[in-house]
């Protein structure tokens, strides 16, 4: 029996965690690597030290003067709580996040993609002491943790295996911007082209490439674009000046994109009519189950 919703299609060594949701959508999560998790751990460590130091300071100033014994007792209980319960409570109540994980954009989720329950947070952090073995100095070495993370796939430590959780990196992605202002780019005249039409995936590739041209310098961008530009020129039977392809391959790709984004539209509209009624905005309304 494999846990619900997890897919075993990916190889064991993978940076992505794939989940199939009840809506029949396959989601991919970016797994968090050991370095980010170690960083998050150290931030949490500093926070725990700070909480204890703050308590000690405040207690000595105020409560400790009148009720020294109660203060010591509270300190001991606080030490226990920070040692054993800090991670479990944070992850259980803040949906898989500790302050350190929050800073690194990490989150603990159940292997099936949904948030962990309090019990899962508790179990994965009660086993932490074993992940921390062999215990050297005052921090522990997390030797077992490193070993299992690097050998057992999905960067899981022992606690993750018992609780059936994975730690993911949350991405914040913006709606992709239009890569180019289409109105300002001259389409390639029809008489310079043959009858071939690039596939939507090719168009998407061009679009993404152009979308990232801001991070490429001129030389690098052109050297990357020239391969695709040459192949496209051959396929399209491009009859314009060769210098357009050889010297300004990025501009050529942009022109191809500007030429065909409307044609692509036509091709897919036909496909839509064959498949079924066109999905307009009104057709999207879904009855809400009650």
């Amino acid at each position: 029996m494999s846990p619900p919703g997890t897919s075993t299609a990916l190889p064991r060594v993978s940076l992505e965690h794939v989940v199939e949701t009840p809506e029949n959508v396959v989601l991919t999560y970016q797994l968090a690597g050991p370095a980010a998790r170690m960083g998050a751990f150290f931030i949490d460590f500093v926070i725990r030290i700070a909480i204890f130091a703050a308590f000690t300071f405040l207690a000595v100033m105020t409560l400790g003067r009148f009720l020294p014994a109660l203060t010591v007792a509270m300190g001991l209980v606080l030490y226990f709580a920070l040692d054993w319960l800090y991670f479990a409570i944070c992850e259980g109540f803040f949906r898989g996040k500790t302050p350190g994980k929050h800073m690194y954009g990490l989150r603990v989720v159940h292997a099936a993609g949904y948030p962990i329950s309090l019990w899962e947070a508790v179990v994965r952090n009660f086993v932490r002491a074993m992940d921390n073995a062999p215990f050297i100095l005052f921090l522990g070495s997390y030797g077992v943790c490193w070993l299992t993370m690097l050998t057992c796939g999905k960067f899981r430590r022992l606690g993750d295996m018992v609780a059936q959780t994975v730690v993911i990196e949350e991405r914040r992605v913006k709606v992709p911007k239009e890569p180019i202002i289409l109105e300002k780019i001259q389409p390639i005249p029809r008489n310079e082209l043959g009858g071939w039409v690039p596939a939507p995936t090719t168009m998407a590739l061009i679009e993404e490439f152009l979308g990232r041209r801001g991070v490429l310098n001129y030389v690098r961008g052109h050297s990357m674009a020239i391969g695709l530009a040459r192949v496209l020129a051959t396929r399209l039977d491009y009859k314009g000046p060769v210098s357009q392809v050889e010297e300004y391959p990025m501009a050529f790709l942009a022109r191809v994109y500007a030429t065909f984004y409307r044609v692509e539209d036509d091709v897919l509209n036909i496909a839509d009519e064959v498949r079924g009624p066109k999905r307009g905005k009104a057709g999207r309304t879904v009855e809400v189950a009650t």
Binding site: S2, P115, E178, T201, A204
Partner: protein, 330 residues
């Protein structure tokens, strides 16, 4: 429909969904009202559809990873665990934990043998030959123990109670027992992941140490103070350590005998029950810490202490064997 038209038509809905999602990212998230919940559910399903469509048409990684991110956040918000409630804690302590304990009592029996067995043997041997205790426990510690529990004839008016059991001292000890004993129990559970060997080691080690101290004190004639001191909290404390050990052995057993599952699957399948038992044991130890700090050193006649101790033992047995028996099992 062209990609640009598609994005233009849907962008507004995506951003509306994002705004709803951001409410869940707050530390204290307010719940959606019914209209918003219906809207959320509708937008979520449309978004799932959009993601499939973008993927099947090959409209590029940028768009599909944006939608993937939205859907995964929506998935997280939609299928979140129900919030924890206070009544759940009460339910767990009165019904859930005893039920779980009884369902997995075999592990407790095994842990008890590993804990109480060595303890009884060491106790018996050392009571007859107290000198052997020095092989187990350092001599200075043994002397400290003897001072802590003086013989009856040694204890004068200003006995150990007045020096040892001021209210401040008791508070500190309560804190110490909580931190120290609960840590031992949780360690005992966690070490079970070493195929149960870590738990077995902890149980046997603690059993021998406790047996040695007890045998030594009784064998050298300090039994009166010692036994009346430990009888009350011993009920919760000793049983709870065996309970936590049983939880650790559950983990080890899941790894050693996974049955039809793989070892990892077996581990998570039983790990969730095991940790609940360990937490129950932690709660029992908290109780033991309070008794040990405030009741056990109290200045009351031995008869009263022994009878209260006996009542506590009966209570622990009844609690673990009867509590929640008539409730619907989970």
């Amino acid at each position: 429909m062209n990609k640009r038209q598609f994005v233009a038509a849907r962008k507004e809905d995506w951003q509306r969904f994002e705004k709803l999602l951001n409410r869940f990212d707050k530390v204290i998230s307010k719940n959606l009202d019914s209209d918003q919940a219906a809207d959320f559910s509708k937008l979520f399903r449309e978004l799932c559809h959009d993601l499939s469509m973008v993927r099947s048409r090959g409209w590029g990684k940028g768009l599909s990873s944006y939608l993937n991110d939205l859907v995964s956040r929506g998935h997280n918000a939609f299928y979140r665990a129900p919030p924890a409630r206070m009544s759940a804690i009460v339910w767990f302590l009165t019904v859930g934990f005893p039920q779980l304990f009884r369902r997995n009592i075999r592990y407790f029996v095994a842990a008890s043998l590993l804990f109480f067995g060595p303890m009884a043997v060491t106790w018996g041997v050392i009571q007859h030959n107290p000198e052997l205790a020095r092989r187990v426990i350092p001599a200075e510690q043994l002397e400290q123990m003897q001072e802590m529990y003086p013989k009856v004839e040694e204890s004068t008016g200003s006995s150990w109670k007045s020096s040892n059991a001021g209210s401040g001292e008791r508070l500190i000890m309560a804190g110490f027992y909580t931190q120290h004993n609960v840590s031992i129990a949780l360690d005992c559970f966690g070490r079970g992941i070493l195929f149960g060997a870590g738990t077995a080691y902890t149980l046997i080690f603690n059993g021998i140490a406790l047996g040695a101290v007890s045998g030594y004190l009784v064998g050298t004639g300090h039994h009166a103070k010692f036994l009346t001191f430990v009888v009350s909290h011993g009920s919760f404390e000793l049983v709870a350590i065996a309970v936590a050990g049983g939880a650790g052995l559950m983990l080890g057993h899941a790894l050693l005998h996974p049955g039809q599952r793989t070892r990892f699957e077996s581990l998570w399948h039983r790990g969730l029950e095991a940790v609940q038992i360990a937490v129950g044991a932690g709660a029992m130890l908290l109780m033991a810490a309070l008794i040990e700090a405030f009741w056990s050193p109290a200045d009351v006649p031995d008869v009263l202490k022994v009878s209260v101790g006996a009542l506590l033992w009966v209570f622990v047995v009844i609690y673990l064997s009867i509590a929640g028996r008539w409730e619907r099992s989970t």
